[in-house]
Point group: C2
Chain length 103, copies 2
């Protein structure tokens, strides 16, 4: 799972969000360290929807602009859970050997 995929799914954990909102949420959650390019975002969302990890929830029109909300599915949560566990093991592989600030 790519970093973009991981952060998109993570952004959806607190509830459905639209594409642009996911970009903003990811920026907040990572303190500006991770930014997802729009091309990456929409293509990744398409792939996630195809794979059943997210579903298009509803569409809203806010100030003349369409917002399409995406919701994470149970499969999406499962995939994210598995990936987090995988990452945790990768982190431990390093922290077992060298000190890592903040870890």
């Amino acid at each position: 799972m790519s970093e973009a995929t991981y952060f998109i799914l993570t952004a959806l954990l607190d509830g459905p969000l639209h594409g642009y909102g996911i970009i903003l949420r990811t920026g907040e959650q990572s303190a500006g360290r991770v930014r997802i390019a729009v091309a990456t975002l929409y293509r990744t969302l398409d792939r996630l929807e195809e794979g059943g990890l997210v579903v298009a929830d509803r569409e809203e029109i806010v100030e003349g602009r369409t917002r399409r909300y995406y919701r994470i599915t149970d499969d999406g949560i499962g995939a994210l859970r598995a990936e987090a566990a995988r990452l945790q093991q990768a982190v431990e592989l390093v922290t077992r050997r060298i000190a890592v600030t903040g870890a």
Copy 2:
């Protein structure tokens, strides 16, 4: 940093290793879950050497086959440390919200 890069640097934490040894070590360290394709390995090693994160340590000839050992540099350790901290934060973003087995 890609997963291949991360695991290659991690494999070198316990001391210099040659390419094929890195593949085997990564398999052991990840309980078979991560395997690095040879094409990815050697191209990634080239990139890491270019970037000063690893250096070619020495060459040995064992049973008629040449082994080229790579050693991780201080910069390499620094990069790995930073990446581990980054991953740790990504993991926490998820574990704060949902239970992750083994994390």
